[in-house]
């Protein structure tokens, strides 16, 4: 039973990072209907920026964490400004293909840096002794990661509920034409959606880097699992992203805890999310919390 709860705990840890990463993706989709395929690359960029600031610039990790969020905020904003602003009014399909191109470009840039091939880990800044509770282990880094994640999720839900900018972003996602007519600048909202997505992506990347270390393949795989998460939660639902993130974390932990090693299986944690995705698309295409479109094909 301890083993089960251990899996639950680590599932929640990983899942909350998925949730944080998925929020950014949902945000972009909600406001502009663009599936941002380059989201995983934003996460990786955030993680590497945090690492660079901490290790090469000798900035305390707390500060560099915040700094990298700010930097990725502007990075994502300029990506939107340079590449996507020109495509407003073009069919969505070309915008999505541009994000596929961006994915490839950022991949290429990361492969050109030493980060592309090396395994790195953050200098430890927390007590390495794990917390033990009823035989369940959880490290301080994981604990801090979960706390920061939930804090950020709280801040964002406040931001969307109360602040003027957040409300205008929700308005744009609801009805672009109507929000334009009441004086909301739609291109500005798109830019902000990207920037906020960059911010959350950097936070997720930074936390992930601290917990599992920096390896581009791992970060890449992590970035792609965001897609099953958002499909499970419903593409346009922020609470859905959080719930689905945690469900996906649990699924993965249970898979690697109970399936691997039996029946000659291995690495099922990287397979199951995609099977879930296909099943969800077939049987419940709008996910757990997504808006149901009434018209059917």
């Amino acid at each position: 039973m301890t083993y089960f709860f251990q899996l639950v705990v680590s599932g929640i840890v990983v899942g909350s990072i998925y949730a944080l990463a998925a929020i950014g993706f949902v945000l972009i989709y909600k406001s502009s209907r663009v599936l941002n395929l380059a989201h995983g690359q934003l996460i990786a960029a955030g993680a590497y920026i945090t690492y660079t600031l901490t290790v090469y610039c000798h900035i305390p990790i707390y500060v560099s964490f915040v700094l990298s969020m700010i930097l990725t905020f502007f990075l994502a904003m300029s990506v939107e400004r340079i590449f996507l602003r020109r495509l407003i009014g073009e069919p969505i399909i070309s915008v999505i293909m541009v994000t596929i191109g961006l994915m490839s470009i950022i991949d290429g840039v990361i492969y050109l840096t030493p980060f592309g091939s090396e395994n790195l880990s953050f200098p430890s800044f927390m007590p390495s002794q794990p917390v033990v509770f009823q035989g369940i282990y959880i490290s301080y880094t994981q604990l801090a990661g979960v706390l920061i994640t939930f804090l950020l999720i709280g801040v964002f839900s406040w931001f969307f509920r109360k602040s003027t900018v957040g409300i205008s972003m929700r308005a744009v996602s609801d009805d672009q034409m109507a929000s334009m007519s009441i004086g909301i600048s739609v291109p500005r909202v798109f830019g902000l959606a990207w920037a906020t997505a960059g911010l959350t992506a950097a936070a997720a990347g930074g936390i992930l880097g601290n917990i599992v270390g920096l390896n581009f393949d791992t970060l890449h795989a992590f970035g792609i699992i965001v897609f099953p998460v958002v499909i499970l939660g419903g593409l346009d639902s922020l609470p859905g992203a959080v719930v689905a993130g945690i469900i996906m974390g649990l699924i993965q932990q249970f898979a690697s805890g109970y399936l691997d090693g039996n029946w000659g299986l291995s690495g099922t944690a990287s397979l199951l999310p995609y099977i879930v995705l296909l099943v969800i698309l077939l049987f419940k295409p709008h996910g757990l919390f997504g808006t149901h479109e009434i018209e059917r094909v």
């Binding site: 399909i93 999505i96 191109g101 490839s104 050109l112 030493p114 897609f227 499909i231 698309l281 094909v297």
Partner: protein
């Protein structure tokens, strides 16, 4: 009724639907096509190319067949696929796993290879139909997610199953032709002709699909699925069938690749490769049949340039990095983004502009 002069046409003057649906609009087009084919089939008798470049040309032709499929999905059905390399992988691994089970020198592999290639095509089509199924319930571009997960499931299955040699190379034997076994020195030349015939057959098939009732409903569904629905087409099945057809082309391309490389390995069917095929489709021109030929050629030549640039830079820079692994995705991504922003209709559009210039020459207006 006076019919238009089909030798000296200066534009499209169709008066019946029948005329519009001709494969070749003018006799000049037909003549140019025939001449082009003659050149393609006869140049190896006059020019000797090294094996390296012969392989490049063969790879371009394989990519042309694959891009037929991808262009059908992306250009004509209006859906994005980022799993095209996986569909090719299905074809390649069909051949390779049959070879693995019955031995890579079995008659079925070496003599009945056209059958094997067709079988791979049908395997690819089956996978395409399965992956396309969500289209029955969804509008928009969610199918992108389905193709992405197919790509990743494929990578997992190949990479971790004993049956597929865990992604290591699986051998396929040399094939036989009427003149006996195709020797090592003739391998690439033989497959050049086999590929060329396949490209031409598939291309004519593709053009004819577009002329049929189904092909026109495909374009109608892409442009406005509600209107198409109202006119009695079934948007869902149209898209699912498009995925099946794309899988068929990809399966054939994959099987040919397995025969050409004399086996199948994991690294030629990854997500990066899928993106490369997407780049070919975009660069060539979405929804343009000629684009299926320009795109692969342009991207493969770019690939060659990038490789030599990486080798050149690797010599001067004191770096242990393999520059090509980074420069490749970088250049393909750039090409995708730049073409989509500045020339969304691809190289096929340049070809169109050139043709209309020649058609009207010397009277420009």
């Amino acid at each position: 009724m006076m019919s238009a002069n089909r030798w000296m046409a200066t534009g499209n003057y169709f008066t019946t639907y029948r005329q519009e649906q001709r494969i070749f609009a003018t006799h000049v087009d037909r003549l140019i096509f025939a001449l082009f084919l003659v050149v393609l089939f006869s140049w190896p008798y006059f020019i000797e190319l090294s094996t390296k470049y012969m392989l490049v040309i063969d790879n371009i032709l394989i990519a042309v067949i694959a891009v037929y499929g991808l262009n059908l999905i992306t250009g004509f059905a209006g859906q994005i696929s980022v799993g095209h390399a996986a569909f090719m992988g299905v074809g390649a691994y069909t051949v390779a796993s049959v070879a693995g089970v019955i031995g890579d020198r079995h008659v079925l592999i070496t003599h009945a290879w056209p059958l094997m290639i067709l079988l791979s095509g049908f395997m690819g089509a089956a996978m395409g139909l399965i992956v396309g199924l969500p289209a029955l319930r969804l509008r928009h571009l969610y199918l992108l997610m389905a193709t992405l997960s197919f790509q990743l499931i494929f990578q997992w299955v190949i990479g971790s199953m004993e049956f597929f040699n865990q992604g290591q190379f699986m051998y396929v034997g040399r094939v036989h032709w009427f003149s006996g076994q195709v020797s090592r020195s003739q391998h690439y030349m033989f497959w050049y002709y086999a590929l060329l015939v396949t490209v031409v057959v598939c291309g004519l098939g593709f053009r004819n699909i577009l002329r049929t009732r189904y092909g026109r409903s495909l374009v109608a569904v892409r442009d406005n699925d509600r209107a198409a629905d109202a006119m009695g087409m079934h948007p869902g099945f149209t898209k699912v069938f498009a995925f099946g057809l794309a899988g068929f082309f990809a399966g054939i391309a994959g099987a040919l690749q397995a025969y050409l490389n004399r086996g199948a390995g994991f690294e030629t069917f990854t997500l990066h490769e899928s993106i490369q095929y997407l780049a070919m489709t975009i660069v060539g021109g979405l929804g343009q049949l000629t684009g299926c030929i320009f795109g692969p050629a342009a991207i493969r030549l770019l690939d060659l340039q990038v490789e030599s640039l990486a080798r050149w830079a690797g010599e001067i820079l004191p770096s242990s990095l393999d520059l090509a692994t980074g420069l490749r995705p970088l250049s393909f991504g750039l090409v995708i983004v730049l073409f989509l922003i500045f020339e969304p209709r691809g190289i096929a559009n340049w070809w169109r502009i050139m043709r209309s210039y020649v058609k009207l020459w010397p009277f420009r207006y």
